[in-house]
Symmetry: C2
Subunit: 442 residues, 2 copies
């Protein structure tokens, strides 16, 4: 991937031509503190609209317990066409039975009426508490308000990025610009997610080959490139496999994980197909945007104090490399040791040993490097401690981000997982307070 | 199991006839604060000896990275005969290469010399930091000291139980008395374990059918019953499958998990075989002792504030029930919600959904009861919230122990896991302090 293929620009979902957005407060948590306006309240409803027809693709949680909007989107995305996305935070519309399904459909219908677009071309996403009915009267006001406000400004894109946040501490936006067949093209995206993060998405919601564990993350991408729906889906699958499906905060896969992309072709080039010579450029831009957004999720993970890139090489197969990397990245003991900045390899070797990947103690290398640095300091070589000093290792492992290198020397399988530490703040945040049920997990 | 088959008595490993024990301090962590004596120091070396030949059985971690003493014991236990066990805390002798293997063998040799027993009849166990060479000069002094002190008193049994502790806050001992063929028989045990707890043991260290994830727990059992080695191994397998292999504190399976039992036949009855009518009585007593000890480990888990018995019914198979129960019991989000006393079912349904067990949202029941109570309060029936009040549910989920009942309505498979919550104290304890490397995880 040559960096010169594209360059980052300001903004997010409204950066590409022909997209408008809005983010409003409509009191989905029923705090009773607003009336559809946003007077200092946290926005909780976003609308994202292509002003002309667009192709669409998506990937969705493989959790067997999946939210109503996910079921709706899986179906709509299979048709390859969509014009708008309505998203709310504060309520996941998950485990809400048939009423939940009706509510998701109603959200599309309401947005369709407000935008004068067929409801069948509107996707829906939700995030927040599980098992609580959607406050549809509030949602209706929010959708109408957002439809009236939506415009192509960067500010409105930011408002949408804010409206999809739950425990996120900051909005997450990325956009790039590049050339396709001589035309200037833009691709932008926003996402949310901080806990319940280990996505394992597939296009249909059916388990992919490598099935990870679990998170709510939502990501919405827009581009003015023109691209055939099937080619767009294939490109998205590839990008998600290398980004969102490789992150973990707490090893919990959400009921709501969703990535959606709309491509409206406003850039004016001939629509890309699987055989277009320009496709690799589009893929590179999409890979960059999804990976940047995925990394932002881990960096903003609940209570996270360290970002660790776990790189496993030398497994018998890529699947075993993935298994080994996830065993390490999700071990409570390894994650707490990262919290402490501890460079010990014992817990790492222990986690590798109980993974289902083939591990031979006397073959394993464990090393650390600072991100971007080629200098790897090994603490373990062929299962034996090296002479690298504890102090030298700590200089890396007490940094806010580092890479963990594991070589199993069993074959050619490699995998990479973006992980975080486990901190007291994570526990404090997620334990909630039974005297204030609004703080509890859904 | 009729309770009248046996009754609990005071003491532990020295309660049965013909067993002596000792626990001493020999400064295995090289704190430099003692010289083999125990002047206010934490004991770190235990010796447990049968005064006459005994049959032996054991189960061991299935972690591929297993400690040197485990490898030694697996081999010795296969012969079905052992007379003594030497155990140290403070150093796991794991990931210590060939020197570790030599050190484990030397520990048996040293104990053999001191006790005048062939080294081949001595088992070894270690727990503590991973990857640090054993301080054999200290170990030698400790073994000699312990051999000189060992006696049949309850106090010495307690000293041994103290010497095997690591992050445990209290020694864990159980003993029972019962009748076999008219003779009075005793069975006693001690164990340790508080973190790195999700044992998945098998007799050979090879993966069992249901392979759980991971902990260091050690358990040593003694009985003056007489029992054929093969029958003893089968009885132990059954008892461990229902006790230690059903607990989890943090989902991490240790490199050192070990359960050993010695049976010396001093009670004087005809040795039990697989066809003895008295075998069920022995099994019931063994089941009771191992389960009590296993429960003590969870109750003393690092930072644990709540003991949760996860009961899954109605899975398609017992293996799926086990998978579902462990997904719930090891979910960071479920465990933090238990810390907060939160009765929400959303995170539970979410964890069930990403487990590999078959789960249909609209079929699932979730309920709570206080331990021993038959009154189950359901928060969810067939995937829908019940009318049970939040307050009523909280009365159960804010108790120090409760049972979580999950019915999947997919088949006849059932499983039970003894679990704990995840607290700030767990993180604080395990993150350590890089400025004081003795606090770090090995």
């Amino acid at each position: 991937m040559k960096k010169s293929l594209f360059h980052a620009i300001d903004g997010s979902v409204t950066a590409p031509a022909g997209f408008i957005a809005a983010g409003v407060f409509c009191d989905i948590k029923r705090l009773g503190t607003g009336k559809g306006s946003n007077k200092g309240q946290k926005r909780d409803l976003a609308l994202l609209v292509s002003q002309s027809p667009a192709t669409a693709a998506g990937t969705f949680t493989t959790n067997q317990v999946c939210a109503a909007p996910v079921r709706l989107c899986v179906e709509r995305v299979q048709r390859g066409v969509a014009r708008a996305i309505v998203v709310n935070s504060g309520n996941a519309n998950a485990c809400t039975g048939r009423q939940g399904q009706r509510d998701a459909e109603m959200m599309a219908k309401l947005a369709g009426s407000a935008l004068k677009i067929p409801a069948a071309e509107i996707c829906v996403a939700s995030t927040g508490r599980i098992g609580v009915p959607m406050p549809m009267d509030h949602v209706k006001k929010g959708i109408e308000h957002a439809a009236a406000l939506a415009d192509a400004s960067a500010a409105s894109g930011r408002h949408a990025a804010e409206a999809i946040m739950t425990s996120d501490t900051r909005p997450k936006e990325v956009a790039v610009e590049f050339k396709l067949a001589g035309k200037t093209v833009r691709l932008g995206g926003m996402c949310k997610g901080a806990g319940m993060i280990q996505p394992g998405m597939s296009p249909s919601g059916a388990p992919p080959a490598l099935r990870p564990l679990h998170a709510t993350m939502l990501c919405f991408l827009t581009t003015d490139a023109g691209i055939e729906a099937k080619t767009l889906q294939a490109a998205l699958n590839e990008a998600v496999a290398k980004s969102f499906n490789r992150i973990t905060v707490d090893g919990d896969m959400s009921t709501n994980d969703t990535v959606l992309i709309l491509a409206n072709g406003r850039a004016g080039h001939v629509a890309l197909t699987a055989r277009s010579p320009e496709l690799p450029t589009f893929q590179a831009a999409l890979d960059y945007v999804t990976l940047e957004l995925a990394r932002k999720i881990v960096l903003d993970g609940e209570g996270v104090s360290r970002f660790v890139t776990v790189r496993v090489q030398g497994a018998r197969t890529p699947a075993e490399a993935d298994t080994a990397a996830r065993a390490v990245a999700n071990s409570s003991l390894v994650k707490t040791s990262w919290c402490g900045g501890d460079p010990n390899w014992g817990r790492i070797l222990c986690a590798l040993g109980y993974s289902s990947a083939r591990v031979v103690e006397s073959k394993v290398d464990v090393g650390y490097s600072l991100p971007g640095s080629r200098q790897v300091l090994y603490s373990l070589r062929k299962g034996r401690p090296t002479k690298t000093t504890f102090k030298a290792l700590c200089r890396i492992t007490t940094a806010s981000a580092f890479d963990l290198h594991i070589h199993l020397h069993q074959g050619q399988g490699a995998a990479l997982i973006y992980a975080s530490d486990l901190t007291e703040s994570y526990v404090d945040f997620n334990k909630g307070d039974v005297n204030d049920p609004t703080t509890l997990g859904g």
